[in-house]
Subunit: 167 residues, 2 copies
């Protein structure tokens, strides 16, 4: 078995997260969604090497302080499973550049819920904002709908968790 590995990072400033509105690429599984910045591991990279390279490529910024917050296992009935290393960062240097995968925007943390987000992202964003300790979360999707959630190996009620994340 070989699997797909990615990183995702929410960069923080003034009670905002830097969000990427994926409007640029056609045939983008994230088309029109708002996500953090990040991307796929290249050969031999550690999670942090991938993180630093992807953030630099997509934003122009060099991270100087970051935290590894969790691992997300995305599974579906159709696509290969993706393992995503989830980070937040609150230190960086450099100037922001336009991102060719979409539009970068600083969004107040309490306005995140108004954005077009993946359902599972709502759940882990809430855990990030609540300063949850490191977690491993499995999200199973049927198309665009979240059908199963597991946290640290324990099954949770996906519907209830989504409802809670709206609050």
């Amino acid at each position: 078995m070989k699997e797909k590995l990615t990183t995702l990072c929410y960069i923080e400033k003034d009670d905002c997260y830097l969000m990427l509105h994926r409007v640029s690429k056609q045939n983008d599984v994230n088309k029109d969604k708002w996500i953090g910045v990040g991307g796929h591991f290249e050969k031999g990279e550690s999670p942090e090497e991938c993180l630093l390279r992807e953030v630099k490529e997509e934003t122009g910024l060099t991270l100087t302080a970051f935290r590894f917050r969790g691992i997300i296992t995305f599974s579906t009935d159709t696509f290969e499973t993706e393992y995503m290393c989830l980070y937040t960062a609150d230190g960086y240097e450099g100037d922001m550049i336009p991102c060719d995968e979409g539009t970068l925007e600083w969004v107040k943390k309490d306005r995140l819920w108004d954005l077009n987000l993946w359902e599972g992202d709502r759940i882990f964003l809430k855990m990030l904002l609540e300063d949850a300790p490191f977690f491993s979360m499995k999200l199973h999707y049927m198309g665009e709908r979240l059908s199963e959630v597991m946290i640290n190996g324990r099954a949770e009620d996906a519907g209830k968790m989504l409802e809670a994340s709206e609050k």
Copy 2:
């Protein structure tokens, strides 16, 4: 990029870790080494699903309490990169069965250093015993020798770390 994903677990009891002496398989990269129990992810598995299945297969035990302690990136100049999810566990049910990959033995934590261990394993075992918070460690090997160590994205002195792990 697709990568190799594995889990490794040290099960604790009475100040011992359950160690697997890999003496059974020919052509085993771990031949004669002492390691924890674990193995490769199967399709669609989360880290915890892999952990529970592998521990059950190799030991007969069902874990009831475990902690995700870190991620290890193993890189070499020759082999593909491996990403290993590292756990300790202190709760389990069931009876131990013989493992067909080697001999299982409870080893006192302060005697671990006498075993034939991989150099990098000495470093992360020390961090586990010191109760380090979740960490991401990259270990680069040239053959059997550890040549580079990074912890949470920062380069460390491999020689010094190995020396410290002997104490």
